[in-house]
């Protein structure tokens, strides 16, 4: 340990450093467990009572977890829990990781399902944001979406619709089995029709309101631990 526990909290007292209490360990464990990001030492310190030494708690927790299915590691300026190194391959080998669609992809798929046949420009209009590269491609690769023809307007854009595999995946006998739009409308949706022509402002808007999910790299099952 590089820290000097107790140096700040009791510099003048000859008393021994306060022991790490079980309660603090519990809190540290819960915090680390539920955090999506590595937890900085000071973040833990904020939750611990006055006088508790976060560094000491962390190293104590690390020792307590040694040999368990989960271990505490130091990454990128913080601490995080992860499955024990030796078990990770076993977990991954046994269970194929189903691919997840990004939120943008799910939304796009929903728009296509309800508004098919629909062009790319119409999808952007209906979602209110531009379609990022790759979203449509992901859906095509997944087999959920296929071209349905051309719209007879200038540029003859391709129209898109859902596939049979789409119906199978969602357990639908036909597209009629999707909840009807008027029912969604009754649920409070589609109460106003948006200005349909894509205005430059709508396109501009996405720069102010980027969809985080379009930027996230896809889940990489091999990538953790970096």
């Amino acid at each position: 340990m590089t820290d000097d526990p107790g140096a700040d909290s009791a510099p003048t007292l000859p008393l021994p450093e306060p022991p790490v209490r079980a309660e603090w360990l519990r809190l540290a464990e819960a915090l680390l467990f539920a955090s999506a990001e590595p937890v900085a030492e000071h973040a833990l310190a904020e939750l611990l009572p006055e006088g508790a030494n976060a560094a000491a708690v962390l190293s104590s927790l690390q020792r307590a977890l040694a040999g368990r299915g989960v271990e505490l590691v130091r990454v990128g300026g913080g601490w995080m829990l992860r499955t024990a190194e030796d078990l990770a391959p076993l977990l991954r080998k046994r269970f194929e990781v189903p691919r997840r669609l990004s939120r943008a992809a799910v939304e796009t798929l929903a728009i296509i399902a309800y508004h098919q046949p629909v062009t790319r420009a119409e999808i952007e209009d209906l979602r209110g944001v531009a379609l990022s590269q790759g979203t449509l491609e992901t859906l095509i690769e997944a087999g959920f979406v296929e071209p349905k023809g051309k719209r007879e307007i200038p540029g003859r854009p391709t129209t898109w619709g859902t596939t049979k595999a789409f119906l199978v995946h969602f357990g639908l006998a036909s597209l009629k089995d999707l909840p009807r739009l008027d029912e969604l409308k009754a649920a409070g949706l589609l109460t106003a029709t948006p200005p349909l022509p894509i205005s430059p402002m709508v396109l501009e808007d996405r720069h102010h309101d980027p969809l985080e999910e379009e930027r996230l790299p896809p889940v990489d099952p091999e990538g953790e631990g970096r």
């Binding site: 669609l101 309800y114 595999a165």
Partner: protein, 265 residues
């Protein structure tokens, strides 16, 4: 401000003449109001006095009227039915028409509906009082993998799809989402749904215009609403679920649900 407390002075708290203030804010329909009134009886809902409840409701509506509050049609329809029910309940059994089902049965049906709504409300409260994920306890924040195989290899459900649609459309509609609904003209379909719903609680002949939704703007929306109502009424009359009559040319049109046995399945 019909009471003497109007001049009681500002320092004394206003005397509350009734358990409920007269306002339509916050009521989720007549049943909601009835349930609140029923609670004021401070008895088990199983031993509720529907007669007393009817009186409370009618009194409440009367006070709301005295204050010139706008009262939605649903509330008035319920008031009409409760007034009718009350008059039946007050008749000694001997004087009741022989061919009439007992008003006690109808009163029990109402009490039962209130108990059911109350039960759902309590169930909702019990749910919300549970230890809830993301509120009281938290799941793993940085999961490493999904463990279960998903058919098709894609982890996306119909619920995800619907939620995605909702999110996309909500965003596209932007700030307009909470705008009051556009001045739609009432369709015959809407009128039909409304009529069917309200007719279930209207006891007797009623003028068709009473079934129009409140707050219809004068002019075209009202005329269109009336036309749709009439269309819906005619449609229902064709299916023999209601009767219509007009006593004189250009006079009001009256409507009444017909008694029909439930079809057996």
């Amino acid at each position: 401000m019909t009471r003497e407390d109007a001049e009681a002075g500002s320092e004394s708290p206003p005397a509350c003449p009734a358990p409920l203030t007269v306002s339509f804010e916050g009521w989720e329909g007549p049943l909601d109001l009835l349930l609140e009134l029923a609670r004021a009886q401070k008895v088990d809902l199983a031993r509720l006095s529907v007669l007393l409840l009817a009186e409370q409701y009618l009194d409440w509506i009367a006070r709301a009227r005295a204050l010139d509050l706008e009262i939605a049609a649903d509330y008035l329809v319920m008031a009409a039915w409760l007034a009718y029910l009350k008059s039946r309940l007050l008749l000694p059994p001997a004087e009741r028409p022989a061919d009439e089902p007992s008003p006690e049965a109808a009163a029990e049906a109402l009490a039962w509906q209130l108990r059911r709504l109350e039960a759902m409300r309590e169930a909702g409260a019990a749910l919300m009082a549970r230890v809830r994920l993301g509120v009281d306890v938290w799941p793993r924040g940085a999961p490493e993998a999904r463990i279960e195989r998903v058919p098709g290899g894609w982890a996306v459900s119909l619920a995800d799809l619907i939620a995605g649609y909702v999110a996309a459309r909500r965003r596209a509609l932007g700030k307009r989402r909470y705008a009051p609904p556009p001045l739609d003209l009432m369709s015959v379909q809407d009128a039909l749904a409304r009529l069917v719903r309200l007719l279930r609680v209207v006891p007797d002949w009623a003028v068709l215009t009473r079934f129009l939704p409140p707050n219809l703007a004068p002019g075209l929306p009202t005329r269109a609403g009336l036309a749709s109502m009439l269309g819906a009424g005619l449609e229902l009359a064709k299916g023999r679920t209601v009767a219509l009559r007009q006593d004189e040319p250009f006079g009001p049109i009256w409507i009444k649900a017909r008694t029909e046995p439930e079809p057996e399945v």
